[in-house]
């Protein structure tokens, strides 16, 4: 841990991520509508700040005032999107979805992937063969079909409202998570296979090394070899690789929402905003800039954090 704290960039990244999480949690209080004193206007019409739309303000440039008589004097700090919704507000609220997707999906993918790849690489032989063929099978599955099937089945049942038993439980969990369960499942469950392959490759490489032989010679059991010797060595590149996947997860969530399986409109997420905004790239680049910047900075932060974690886990740098 101490070595992690010594890594300045990693520390700044952690701080950044914590601040981002706080912003996301406190979105209701720190969004521009609340800050500029329009909270009660919104409450009167029972609208969430990220949904408040003023069509006449469509594509408003940053720092322009609203043309809405109800919102007299309100300034769009980062401009408005094509429906006249405040971009800064939506980015702040979007952090909720995007951050949770990034964290959960990355963790799930990392844990399952490393466990699978480590086991497969270590056991080798026929077990390895079978496990990797299963991974091939999963790779070949077109995820779009799976997603549509999930959407058809679960959403239709949800609408019927008569869900019972297992399906009912699943839908209950989904509601508790704000409609994100399927997104988490789809992204996490479908992305661990890349991690598994990398973990396996690393394991294969380290398996033959002397220290493993040494450990075996001194009587260490397989589990000890796996956890104390092999895993720390492969964690490094795995974590770094995982952080590189995060933008993919966020964009995948946008795709899922677009197709109807993720969050429903008008709930924003950075991926959704980027998707909506890219078409207006030439005419109104400000729509995409703020969420894209947020995304890039977050990914950078996770990346540097990953570097730091890798250094921290590197057995050769421990105890120095």
């Amino acid at each position: 841990m101490r070595s992690l704290l010594h890594h300045r960039l990693a520390v700044s990244s952690i701080v950044f991520i914590i601040i981002l999480a706080l912003i996301a949690i406190l979105a209701g209080v720190i969004n521009p509508f609340a800050l500029q004193g329009y909270g009660d206007v919104l409450a009167a019409t029972n609208q969430a700040p990220f949904a408040k739309q003023t069509l006449q303000d469509n594509y408003a440039r940053p720092m322009t005032e609203s043309k809405n008589p109800d919102l007299q004097g309100f300034v769009y700090y980062a401009g408005a999107d094509n429906l006249g919704r405040d971009i800064l507000t939506r980015t702040i609220y979007g952090a909720r979805i995007s951050l949770s997707v990034a964290l959960v999906a990355a963790l799930v993918s990392l844990i399952i992937g490393i466990a699978y790849g480590l086991t497969s690489g270590y056991l080798g032989g026929r077990t390895d063969e079978i496990m990797m063929r299963f991974v091939d099978f999963l790779y070949g599955l077109p995820i779009v079909i799976v997603v549509i099937l999930m959407q058809v089945y679960f959403k239709a049942v949800a609408r019927r409202g008569d869900a019972s038993g297992l399906v009912g439980m699943i839908l209950g969990v989904n509601a508790a998570l704000g409609g994100m369960l399927f997104v988490f499942i789809a992204i996490g469950a479908l992305n661990w296979i890349g991690m598994a392959r990398i973990a396996r490759g690393q394991t294969l490489s380290y398996k033959q090394k002397e220290f493993v032989e040494a450990a075996r010679a001194t009587g260490s059991g397989s589990r000890r070899i796996l956890f104390s010797h092999l895993m720390p060595n492969i964690l490094g590149p795995c974590i770094v690789q995982e952080t590189l996947q995060i933008p993919g997860y966020i964009l995948l969530e946008a795709f899922l929402s677009f197709i109807g399986l993720g969050v429903d409109a008008p709930t924003p997420s950075w991926g959704i905003m980027i998707n909506e905004g890219f078409q207006a790239l030439r005419s109104a680049p400000h729509i995409i800039l703020v969420p894209a910047a947020a995304l890039s900075l977050t990914v950078l932060a996770f990346n540097f954090l990953g570097d730091g974690l890798r250094d921290a886990f590197d057995p050769r740098q421990r105890g120095v």
Binding site: Q208, G248, L281
Partner: protein, 354 residues
């Protein structure tokens, strides 16, 4: 090594079959069929029934699969001899009019959405284009990513390292959906250096996939290859850097350095080889994905590759098309993974094939 290859091929066959069967069933589980609607109009029941009969969609699913893989005549022959198998009545009705020879004999079936075209035709036209685009993009990614990652690793924690990381992450965060139009805007519209879209070569190709290397071809290819390749660059660069850092700290590198080996030889011949293992790992399935058609890049640049068939065939419920492209994708995956495992052994002599 040959035993390894044979064993891998044998293991892959059930995987591919299982994959085909899963896709087969999943597609048929989706609401709607290939002939239910035309635009927003429901087709008359008689019309739908006719079309479905023509493609044997009235047979039971297992028999449809048998006919798809082995051919109509085989399915018919089986039912002629043992007509008590459930579902044989429909087969006996329809198999004589069928034309499918089965995947076994290289016949991927008839397209359901486009009349009169075979899947073999469609894939035969579009796959080589995707292959060209994909291979060039991967080459781009490797040629830019590995040096970038190496430099970053060698200059760890300096400004150069941070800059390289920054650009790498930027390359990843900017989705190709955005990158493509931006490249078109800057290089095709404003500067006029390249054409906006389309691919500069069409079938037939030399050896099935090599195009004539004219200037027009490279001009058309520049922007899409860059758009697709930049995302790979980022990934590869970061992986190379992380992995190289790890390897540089190892004992054998220190030994070699102590023995007075020049830095260049050290990095290239010793360190880089081993550190490329994670890179090669992701390259396997990445190749298969990129080569079977990056949907977004082909969409944005108007390239007639295979990528769009993945998406449109699902929307159209074109069962034979999605089965066909999935098969191609699966075959490529198997080949790519096999090559990856072979390259592992070459890169790191300590890895043995069990």
């Amino acid at each position: 090594m040959w035993r390894f290859i044979i064993r891998r091929i044998i293991w892959s066959i059930p995987v591919i079959l299982l994959l085909m069967l899963t896709v087969f069933s999943m597609m048929r589980a989706l609401p709607g069929g290939p002939f239910d609607f035309e635009g927003d109009k429901s087709l008359a029941k008689a019309v739908t029934d006719n079309l479905e009969r023509r493609h044997h969609l009235d047979w039971s699913e297992p028999w449809q699969f048998v006919s798809y893989v082995l051919g109509d005549d085989v399915a018919g022959a089986v039912c002629e001899s043992v007509s008590s198998i459930p579902g044989c009545d429909k087969v006996l009705d329809g198999y004589k009019a069928g034309v499918s020879k089965g995947v076994i004999r290289g016949d991927l079936g008839m397209a359901m959405r486009q009349r009169g075209r075979t899947i073999n035709d469609i894939i035969g036209e579009s796959f080589p284009v995707s292959l060209q685009l994909g291979l060039m993009a991967i080459a781009f990614g490797l040629l830019t990513g590995v040096p970038l990652g190496t430099i970053a690793a060698l200059k760890q924690n300096t400004a150069i390292d941070y800059a390289a990381s920054f650009f790498a992450v930027l390359g990843l965060s900017v989705p190709s959906l955005v990158l493509g139009p931006v490249l078109i805007w800057i290089f095709a519209l404003k500067l006029g250096w390249f054409p906006v879209s389309t691919w500069g070569a069409q079938p037939p190709f030399f050896l099935g996939f090599i195009p004539t290397p004219t200037k027009a071809f490279f001009m058309h290819a520049a922007l899409p290859v860059t758009a697709l390749g930049l995302a790979l660059t980022a990934s590869i660069a970061r992986l190379t850097r992380a992995s190289l850092l790890q390897v540089i700290g190892e004992d054998y590198i220190r030994t070699a350095r102590a023995k007075g080996l020049p830095q260049a030889t050290l990095i290239v011949r010793h360190a880089l080889r081993n550190s490329l293992i994670p890179v090669v790992t992701i390259l396997g399935p990445l190749t298969a994905a990129v080569v079977t058609g990056s949907f977004v890049t082909e969409f944005v640049f108007g390239i007639p590759g295979m990528g769009k068939h993945f998406i449109t065939s699902i929307n159209n419920r074109d069962y034979s098309m999605i089965s066909g492209v999935t098969l191609v994708y699966a075959l490529l995956l198997v080949i790519a993974n096999m090559i990856v495992d072979i390259v592992y052994a070459w890169l790191d002599p300590r890895i043995k094939f069990d």
